[in-house]
Symmetry: C2
Subunit: 340 residues, 2 copies
Amino acid sequence: MKKPVLFACATLLAALPLSAQEKEKKEFPAPGEIVAAAKTEEWVAIAPSDLLVMELAPLNAKPRRVVIQLMPPPFSQGWIGNIRKLAAAKWWDGTSVNRVQDNYVVQWGDATEKKALPEGLAVVPEGEYSARFALGLIPWQWVSGMRQPPVTVLSSRHGNLYLEAPNVGDPYGYAYSFAGDFPVSLSRTESLNGTERTITLDRIWPVHCYGMVGVGRNLSPDTGSGAELYTVIGHAPRHLDRNIALVGRVIEGIEHLSSLPRGTGALGFYEKEEERVPILSVRMGNDVKDAPAFEYLSTESASFAAYADARANRRDAFFIRPAGGADICNIPVPVRRKAR
Amino acid sequence: MKKPVLFACATLLAALPLSAQEKEKKEFPAPGEIVAAAKTEEWVAIAPSDLLVMELAPLNAKPRRVVIQLMPPPFSQGWIGNIRKLAAAKWWDGTSVNRVQDNYVVQWGDATEKKALPEGLAVVPEGEYSARFALGLIPWQWVSGMRQPPVTVLSSRHGNLYLEAPNVGDPYGYAYSFAGDFPVSLSRTESLNGTERTITLDRIWPVHCYGMVGVGRNLSPDTGSGAELYTVIGHAPRHLDRNIALVGRVIEGIEHLSSLPRGTGALGFYEKEEERVPILSVRMGNDVKDAPAFEYLSTESASFAAYADARANRRDAFFIRPAGGADICNIPVPVRRKAR
């Protein structure tokens, strides 16, 4: 069946004469083709102990499993420690998805707000919304999605990276990059030696891209415990960056959350108890017998750099004009199930 | 009920002591509060003849109506003319929603692809994906969401705007603004007079924000007829800008599309006929008896400028750190039903 669709490279190429098809693929592979061709050693295994597996009540007798990858240090570890305790205590079992706001978030937790929390949860300060920048946190050979960015690396010493550059492409920060497979933004400090303006990367924080998971909170100075979680199901609400804790991202099953009926109450809360979606269980991946294994494409790999370039400069069959740039949330780090 | 939620200003302010509440509101109103306080004369009526009203088959006996506002000249008028003809011919009646791809698009049209198109549809060239910039198309006192942007307006003559500025905030173009209530991006040409670099705004085009409606097509040079339409239900796929025609945006009822079950076929197409969502009718707003009237907040108004500033610099009760910027898709132009 012919499919008149946008972004249809994959299917439409199959309809082209083989020679043209091969030519397109060789010259300008699509991002998905670059990922499919990545070497085995360019993929990084995700530890099951860093996965949070949420089972929603089945829909039409079909199970609904959502898999969340928690962030690595130095990001949000206070809240993530709480989340590990809550999962170990089976605290979410019997809670529910209570809020679905279109083009914004899906939120879950204890709708009654009467359920006692486990002992010993940390109270995490607002300072933890970002971390101190350190070399090795990002693939700093390129920043803001560019392999040769308009960034002059002056030097790197004492774990600092000294740059000379204009803003390199993130309206919500100085520049963007990736920490492992998580999108991050960076701030900088400036110093003047004589006439030479030097920029030092200062703070680094995770950003609110589609599928990122965060911690609901009340008004400042409250930072939330981690018992009330949300995930982004619309355009990246980047104004929330550094205003609320991000702890991970959904790597499988987000459609079970993003396709839920929107709540009709204020902020998209469900108004009737029967609208809420029951959560059967939430467990760490290493406590789930049949949990699949996952891996992500290393953001330090040549294939990822080519993939990011291709996302910012589409030249595969469907496209007539490359954008010449991309915002970080349009360069999702590829994740796949790992063959056992 | 206490609601530990992100972005809960509206409800949580109500729980604060009145004095503090009033103080917050006076000093740093939330974007929604700025819009609610806008003067009647700052709102612009949307002509019913520019609305496309799509009725999906009811769900649980509840009607599902989606209202789309078509773009004004000079944007995409060839395709929009075709869409008016298709609606007049009742061409979409009995077609269906056939594709729902998570974090991407919902697409509708004739799944069989055998239905004959009306006579006299235009074949629109790719050049129409953007328009020539002209003064009056945008509220050019501010660009890229800033009232006093880092833009030096050198002069404006012969309908051109001459600027001196660095890139002002859109990774997918030179700058962004709004045409009526539609998000647009701008390109520029440079000229050098002696040592003075002058930038002239050149082309202007609509961008793929959440809820924007576009025209499915096959490989270039095909540009689509307008019979196959899609809307964005995820993070803005800006790489599609200038690669495919945008014709409007959903102003009411997008939840009827964004919450549909995701398709399990390639590109999110439904694999079984029974999965498709029947379209009962698509009519122009002036042909629908009970169609509500709508109005949008003028992007030339003081209230809109304040709203855009507030979106980029949240200082209302929930926020501890303003972002200092916003991408265009995080500044959706407010639309509301017009009191009759």
